[in-house]
Every structure is written in structure tokens, then in C-alpha cells.
Symmetry: C2
Subunit: 592 residues, 2 copies
């Protein structure tokens, strides 16, 4: 069974050495000194290592069961969920007015990594609740907030997002679920929703469904969609639960992975619900949840790479196979450990350099979210809007590939479920699909986010990178290994954006055809930028005689690998982008 | 449930238009006219579509069961296996002296694609038998051949390869299974083997295990390994089966995929066996099976991409979601089909261009195998030796990625097992691992195959590509879209080989660190070369007024996509290779 070790030291490095969070002028950040975050993450890490990780494979093997209308989660999930609740983890970054601890989003995001790494299917139950909490918090009436939020902050009630219907997922304009207005101001919701993660289960007293539906007579398409709060059990004004509402589980899906999470077909049969936010403006309210969810999924992408890497590394150290061609390393053993072989190291370094670069990126994005929310900073809001599709798309794509690579280190043993590595691959696979497939992220990036504020947001980011390079160009330790590759990759990114500007006008397909490549290119540049920053910080620490030289040397060496071995992908993506739409659109449908 | 359509027309195009097989001076090829191969593949295709494909998902869901020492294959497997036997498919390219039909390897390889595409787990039962047949055919005594081969050709008896032990897979020098010589010239085999595909089952009367073991007193390492024939039931001299031999199944493994194939732990407890080939030269004999098996696995890599693509294509045509940004295509429907969207087309074109390029490559390699075997052509033998690791590594890596991409077209529906696409991903995953992980293929390529005949083999291939480009440089239809990209990619490949020559001597890790990138680079150039050839043939056909213009236009357009969108990867691989070993080898084991 895989063992998970929470990477506290690496996290602390990102937060305090790289991002210097306690120096940031963001409400609440002044309290985030090294000791405080250390204490929080140590506790969360212990829970992840000792309670959640041991249930991960059990969750995969047993899955959820659905009998007589009741869904049962795998053995141990209920007790673990209670432990998480008792620790106050579900309300860590929630509003104190409703029982939350009021910590910054950043802290919640780090804990999300720890919990997801140890048991993603489990972490989704509270994760989705958090998304629903955020939507009600942002768009609910005071009464709604008073009724629902305290119970959701504590996870006594969990939440869901009900978007997808059998005939539509991405194109929500097609959705058919109806909401008939009632005399008392409530609505009767009828329709079928599918792929509802954590749709029902035995972990909480109530499940609060946020449901997209149409009020008859409203506009067609996405402009006629409203968002409703539809609880599993009706909720009285005093906050107690009443009769069963007209919402039921049709079935639970057999999936490739995340077996420990109940993915439900939900049937709404004149279920009683209340409007959340304004009529016909449900998509806007839903996007509050979705943007948060997309950042959360980016973290999930990273999160599965972490234990997969830890397992692969341990195996590479333990498994004796073949000899180092440059000279025997383990003369007393029958063979050398796998880790002596360059091709195994390539895989491990790919994983390590991705994980650490990705973590710096999601933490940076989390500080931007805090800056936007806590300081009403529109520039930060715009920048994180730009980065969200990049993070969701790039980190889940690469995170998945890293789990596949971890499996490769194990050889045949990785294909056997017993080793647990296959589960990381199967669980990670969903992150490329849900909360908008990565193709949809790429379209969001190219179609909407690039043009944000007339292109000023993306230009601002380019400038930030350029300024960093300029400020450090005399640093010989950084120049050839970090700044030059970053400059080159950044130029590729700008050339790609320029290509879209020049060719997307006359034919939008010229931009859309390169969307996924652009997202990947953007992701590489972002991680490259983070690595250059980390290299600067660690190389400065080494120059000034840090007491932890091995740690900082490792950082610099890992970053050097990323720049040398991963960043060259930008050139490939640019070349592809610049071929435009012709070769994609040439064939008629019948010619496929 | 996925439906499979055998791609007969595309196969015939490769064999007759591209490779012009009936013009080749290879024994038996003169009989392979278009009508003959068409008739064979139509029949095989019918079997694949109507008998094997409908059992694929059943095989995945039910898996094999192991109770009271008996393994039961999924419902319908036994009947389907009998149908395959009765059709003589198992002996298609086997020696007529033992009941085979004596067809070229090429024909068998194409049928392998069809059977594997429709049901890979099923096709492995006869596929492994064929490998064992080949080893006995090449290394057995006349008596052994008379005893075993007729029953194996007919698949009344099936075969296995017993290499891996719990502590060793790649490094077979470590293996411990013992073979004690007996007075009658036989051996008693004792030890444990793991990951034995088709290790035991209910499809055949007997299972003939080929087992690597050590004769006590022999040299250490791989030089002391011999190969033995160890039947499940002892075989009398008259060919009838006798008592149960000392070989039993310890358990069957729970795997990520290929559930329909029984992957066994095999326990040998003084099992009676006979030596195959010479004492201590078992590795050589085993390589006969392994080279064949590696080419077969390359075909499997391709094979899973095919039905995954067919499913994704159908879904992309049927599923209505969103509108074409350049203008509505399906005004009478609520939305346009997915296939109008450039990013979906990118995925479909990636798959289509990979599949058709890969098929041309494996068929070309199969003709080389026939030329080597049937014409004793050492150059052909060397060339296919060079290509084998490229095909195994590149086609399984890309084939797997294509199944992942097919899943992406389905969105959430692709993650649900019901759609059947997840199975293609899970089944394809093993092809990157077994018969030597892809990392091992890369080492074989760089460490052994590049230097074959003092480098003459690889230089010969470079010359072939160069000559093709030169011969066609005045062809305007080919120049910019095909010849220029091929020339550039080919230069990248040569530059990489040159880098290894110049830097691998002083430090072999400089070559080994780039091995996987080199394998991928080599694969792209090979497929690019095949596409350039196909483009020439199809563009000539168009010029000369073919009656099937749409077909040939599609080929040219698909090839153009590959050259524009896939071939640029060569530049990335070259850049990575040229960074050498430093960034990989920098960290000490403890720094990971």
C-alpha cells in the first residue's frame, strides 16, 4: 500500500522563501508567519498521512455502493470525515461569521493539496461543499446564508454542483431542467442531472444541491438559466431538517477511478428549491463555484503526481536491477538500484521538477485570489482569471502524465493494482475532464482570457517576466541555466499570442486550432518563471551561506533540469500553433 | 458498447499501393495480390467485428476467475477461441509442415492488428502461443517440433513465456528458477514466475510453458540461463497428454486492464521439462520470441488507438454541443456536432494521422521480417532489428496517448466505464510496459541497435530517406508540405545520433540520458517518412486521375497534418538530448 509523506518543507519554502507571504499586504497574511503555517500544515499533514492515505486504496477497491436508495461510502470514510470535521478543516478558510476560521484561501489551497494527495476521492466530499458554500456566500440572501452556511462550513451538510445533463455538459445553453415558480416564492425543480460528484452519501445529515435550471418563459440558451438551492431534506426556517425532498439518486456510475466518491445520476421530481442570486443569472453565480473549482482541480492535478512520485522514488531506490554503466554502485548487492539508471532519473526528475514548479504556481495563484478578494484588487483578479485555465489545463495534463510515468518506473508491478500506482493514474485522469475539459480551458484562455482588459493583463504578465529577467541579467549563476531559457520560452509565448492576434481576426479557427498548444506553452513558461524565481532565491541563499545548503542546491539543480528538459517544449508548441487551422479543417466530416 | 470496423481499405492501400507487396521478390509474396489479401482480411475483419469485439467489454467487466485451482475465462471466450481455431487463424503464418498455412509474417501481423483492435486480452492467448511456436520452431529438435508444433499451430495447446520472477524482470541475470538435470535427459524445474500472460485458462487442452531457468553449476548472470519446455500436462511421445506436471497457478493478478487475459503467478515444483536449444544459451532462444513479441506489442499499441479513434469519431459526429464559431453548421439542431470544433479536430487528426502512419510502419517492418526470413537477407534483418525498439516504444507510447485523447473527446462520458473508452486506455497501458518497458527499448536502440554493423544500418536508413527526398525534390505537390519537414526532422535525428557519437564515448550517460527522446524522435521521423511516401503515392494517383479521388485527397491531407503538427516534436527531442546527462545525474540519491 502506498505511503504518503506530506511535503511540508517544500511547501514552507514556497510560501516563505519564494512568495514571502507574511510580507504581503493582504488582510490576514500578517498572521501567516513560518511557525503558524508550519503548525497548521503539520497537523493537516498528519491527518493526511495517518487517516486519509490509509483509506485511499480501500476507497478504490470497495467503491461506493447503492442499495435500496442508500449510498454507502467505503469502510472508514465516515469516521475519517468526522475527524476532518472535528478538526475544523472544512471551514479553514470560511467566513468566521458562519463558523469558519477565516484563514486566507492560500492556506485552504495548501491543505487541499495535502488531503487530495492522500485521498482525492475522499477530499472531494468537503471540496465540493466548499464550492457550494462559496456560491451561497457570494450570491445568497442573508437568510439563505444564515440557514445554510454554518452547517456547510462544519460539513454537517455537504454540497454539490448540478450542471451536467445527459445531452449537455460543456454547452449548458441546452439544459432542460425546469424550475416552476410557486406561490410562496419557491420553485419546483424537475429534471435529470448526471455526473454529480458526491451527489449523495452517508457522510452528512443533508446534501445541499446547487442546481442549474430554467424558469419557464425565460430567454433561451445560457441567458435563461437560474441557480437553485435544492436540499436533499427540506430545511425549516430554524435550520432543522424536515421531510425528504423530491430529489433522488438514479444510479451511481461505474468509473475509471475516484471510486471512493459517489458519482450520481440525480433525479429531480418537483423537488422544492429556492432561487440563489438573480433570475436567469445562474451562470454567473455558477461561475463563482467554477473558478474556485478549477483552481481546486489544478491542485488535484498536482496532488496525484505527488504520492505517485513518492512511490516511484522509493521503488527506484529499493529495486535492484541492472548495473550502472559508469561503474558499479552497489557492489555488495546482486545489482544496483534503479535510480542509478539515467532513464529512470529522467522520469524522476520530470516528476520532481514538475511537482515543485506546479506547487509554486498554484500557491502564487492562491495569493492572487486572496489579493483579489481581501484587497479588492482588480489586477490580481484579472491575472488569476488569466492563469486559471492555464493551471487547470496544464497542471492536470502534466499531473496525469507524471502518474503514468511513475507507473513506468514500477514496470509490470505498476500495472498490478496491488502496488497502488494504477489508482493514481485512474484518479488523476478525471482532472483533465471535469470542471470543463482541458479543451474548454484552452478555449477559455484563447477566446476570453487573452483579451482580458484589452490584452493588458497578459501583457502585464509578459512584462513581469521580462522585468525579472532584466533585474537579474548580471547574475552569472542564473543567466545561462535559467534566464536565457526563460527568455526564449517567453518569446515563444509572445510570438504565439502575436500569431493569434494577426491571424485570429480573419479566421478565428487559426486561434482555436492552437488553443491547447498555447495553454501548454503558457503553462511551461509559468513553471519556468517560478523555477527561475526559486533558483534566484536558493542561489542567493547559497551565496549568503545558508545552513541548509543541500536543500537549496537541490532546488537549483531541479530547476536547472526543468529549464533544460521541459522548457524546450515551447518551441514545438509554437511551431504547431503557427501552422494555423488549415491542416485541421481540411477534411470534410465524411473524409474522417 | 463500442463497435469496431476493420479498416480493410486502409490496410489494402498500405500493402498494395504503398508497399506494392506483390512486386516484392520475397518467397510467397507473389501470391499476395489485392484480391487474395482482401479476401483474407475481410474474413478476419468479420470475425473481429462480429465475434471478438462484442466480447471485449464482457472480458473487461468479468475478468478471469480462479477457483479451486481452475481459471475460467470470461463468458464467450471459449466459443470464440474455438471459432478462431476452426478458421485456421492461429496457424496463418505457421510452417505448413506442422499444419500452418505458410502465409508471410506480414499477413499474420495485419490479422494481429484486427484481432487486437477488437479484443486485445483475447488475442493474447493465441499471440503468445505464436511466440512460443516460433521459439520451438527456431531452436527445437525435430522430435520436439513434431511433438509440440502441430498442436500449437492449431492452438489445441497454447503457449506462454515465463521470464519474470518476483525480484527480476528486466535484469534476467538475477533469475533463480532452477533446472536439475535428470538421468533420462529431462530436467526438474523449480521456482516462481510472475506476470505470466495467458499462464493458465480453460481455452486449450494443454499449456506449453517456455521457462527460463538455471542449470546448477552453470555460469552466473545471463550466460547461465537455459530455456525449457514445461507443459502443464506431461506429453507422451505419441503426442497425447498425460499426468498433470508440477506446475500450478499461485494466483491471478488484479490488473489495471486486459482483464480478459489471465495474468498468473506460476509455481514450478520439480516440474518436468526438456531443454530447448543449447544449455546456457536460453537468452538467445528467448530473444527469438521477444523480438517477435516486441513487434507484436507495437501492433497492439496501434491496435488500441484504432477502436478508440472510431468511437471518438462517432461521438464527435453525434454529440451536439456548442456552435461552429465561423458559422452554424447544423441550423436545424440545437447545436453543432463536436467535430466542427478545431480542438476536437486536432484530437481526431492526431489519432487518424498516427494510426495510418503507424500502420504503414508496422507493415513495412513486417515485409522486412519476411525478407529476412524468407530471403535470408541480412540487411533486412539488421534494419528490422534497428526498427523494433523504435516501433515497440514509439507506437505503444503514442498509441496509449491516442486512447487517452479519445477519452477526452467523450468528456465525462469517457470516464464512465459504460462507454468502453476507458478500457482502451487501461488495456493500452500495458503495451508500454511488457516485453521490455519502453525505457528498455530506448536503451536497446541507443546502446545496441545504433551501432549495429558499425553504424551502417542506421546510416543506410538515413540514406534511404535522403534518397527519397532527392528523387522527389522537383515534385511541387510534396516539397513544402512533406519533403521539407521530413528533411528537417531527419536532420534532427542525425544530429542526435551525432551527439551520441561525440559525447557518449567519454560518458555513456550522455547517450543514455537521451535514449527515450531519441526513440521518440526516431519514431516521428519513421512515421514522417511513411507519410511522405504515402503522400507521393496518393498525389501521383490524383494527378493521374484516380477514380477514388476523395480517398487519396484524404490521405494527402492527413499526412500534411502529421508533418505540420506532429513532426515539430523532433526539434524538442533533439534539444533535450543535446543537454546531455548533467541535469539528470546532478542530484545524489539522498537529494531526491
Amino acid at each position: 500500500m502506498p505511503m504518503y509523506t506530506a511535503p511540508i518543507k517544500d511547501i514552507q519554502y514556497v510560501l516563505h522563501d519564494v512568495l514571502e507571504i507574511s510580507k504581503k499586504e493582504i488582510v490576514g497574511y500578517d498572521e501567516l508567519d513560518r511557525d503558524t503555517t508550519g503548525a497548521i500544515f503539520e497537523e493537516a499533514g498528519k491527518l493526511a498521512e495517518q487517516v486519509l492515505a490509509p483509506l485511499n486504496q480501500i476507497g478504490d477497491t470497495q467503491g461506493c455502493t447503492f442499495e435500496n436508495g442508500i449510498i454507502t461510502t467505503p469502510d472508514g470514510f465516515k469516521e475519517a470525515f468526522d475527524t476532518v470535521k472535528q478538526g475544523g478543516w472544512s471551514g479553514l478558510d470560511c467566513d468566521p461569521e458562519y463558523g469558519g476560521q477565516g484563514m486566507p484561501y492560500l492556506v485552504g489551497s495548501v491543505v487541499n493539496e495535502l488531503f487530495s494527495s492522500s485521498n482525492m476521492a475522499f477530499a472531494m466530499y468537503s471540496g465540493l461543499t466548499h464550492g457550494a458554500y462559496s456560491a451561497i456566500h457570494a450570491h445568497g440572501t442573508d437568510a439563505q446564508k444564515q440557514t445554510y452556511l454554518p452547517k456547510m462550513v462544519s460539513c454537517d451538510w455537504t454540497g454539490t454542483m448540478n450542471l451536467t445533463e445527459p445531452h449537455c455538459g460543456t454547452d449548458l445553453g441546452l439544459l432542460r431542467t425546469k424550475a416552476e415558480p410557486q406561490d410562496d416564492g419557491s420553485y419546483k425543480i424537475s429534471g435529470q442531472k448526471i455526473f454529480i460528484s458526491a451527489g449523495d452519501h452517508d457522510l452528512s445529515e443533508n446534501v445541499i444541491h446547487l442546481v442549474l435550471a430554467r424558469i419557464p418563459g425565460g430567454p433561451e440558451g445560457v441567458k435563461g438559466i437560474s441557480l437553485f438551492i435544492v436540499p436533499k431534506f427540506e430545511v425549516h426556517e430554524d435550520g432543522t431538517c424536515g421531510a425528504r425532498n423530491g430529489v433522488s439518486v438514479g444510479k451511481i456510475e461505474e468509473k475509471m477511478g475516484i471510486h471512493g466518491n459517489a458519482t450520481c445520476v440525480m433525479n429531480f421530481d418537483e423537488a422544492s428549491g429556492v432561487l440563489l442570486g438573480e433570475e436567469h443569472k445562474g451562470m454567473r453565480a455558477m461561475f463563482t463555484m467554477m473558478n474556485e473549482a478549477r483552481n481546486g482541480v489544478a491542485v488535484q492535478g498536482l496532488s496525484q503526481a505527488v504520492p505517485a512520485y513518492q512511490e516511484a522514488l522509493q521503488y527506484a531506490k529499493d529495486r535492484l536491477q541492472g548495473r550502472d554503466v559508469t561503474g558499479i554502485k552497489n557492489p555488495d548487492g546482486p545489482a544496483d538500484p534503479l535510480i542509478v539508471h539515467p532513464d529512470i532519473r529522467r522520469i524522476l526528475m520530470d516528476q520532481k521538477s514538475f511537482i515543485e514548479g506546479a506547487r509554486a504556481t498554484v500557491c502564487w495563484a492562491a495569493t492572487l485570489i486572496d489579493q483579489a478578494r481581501r484587497e479588492d484588487d482588480d489586477d490580481a483578479e484579472a491575472l488569476v482569471s488569466l492563469l486559471t485555465p492555464v493551471l487547470k489545463g496544464f497542471l492536470t495534463e502534466q499531473g496525469f502524465q507524471m502518474t503514468v510515468q511513475a507507473q513506468q518506473v514500477f514496470g509490470g508491478h505498476g500495472y498490478i493494482e496491488e502496488s497502488g500506482v494504477s489508482q493514481f493514474v485512474r484518479d488523476a485522469r478525471i482532472t483533465m475532464i471535469y470542471e470543463g475539459t482541458n479543451g474548454v480551458q484552452a478555449l477559455d484562455l484563447v477566446g476570453r482570457k487573452l483579451g482580458l482588459n484589452g490584452g493588458k493583463t497578459v501583457m502585464g504578465l509578459f512584462d513581469t517576466v521580462k522585468t525579472f529577467i532584466k533585474e537579474n541579467e548580471n547574475d552569472e549563476a542564473l543567466k545561462s541555466d535559467f534566464l536565457d531559457p526563460l527568455k526564449s520560452a517567453s518569446k515563444d509565448l509572445q510570438a504565439a499570442a502575436m500569431y493569434f492576434m494577426q491571424n485570429g481576426m480573419k479566421n478565428p479557427n487559426n486561434a482555436l486550432s492552437g488553443a491547447t498548444d498555447f495553454m501548454m506553452l503558457f503553462g511551461h513558461v509559468t513553471l519556468g518563471f517560478m523555477w527561475a524565481k526559486m533558483a534566484k532565491i536558493s542561489s542567493d541563499a547559497l551565496t549568503s551561506g545558508t545552513s541548509d545548503a543541500a536543500f537549496h542546491q537541490t532546488k537549483v539543480a531541479t530547476g536547472r533540469y526543468y529549464m533544460a528538459r521541459q522548457l524546450p517544449a515551447t518551441c514545438m508548441h509554437l511551431t504547431r500553433i503557427q501552422t494555423g487551422a488549415d491542416t485541421l479543417m481540411d477534411l470534410s466530416e465524411g473524409q474522417f
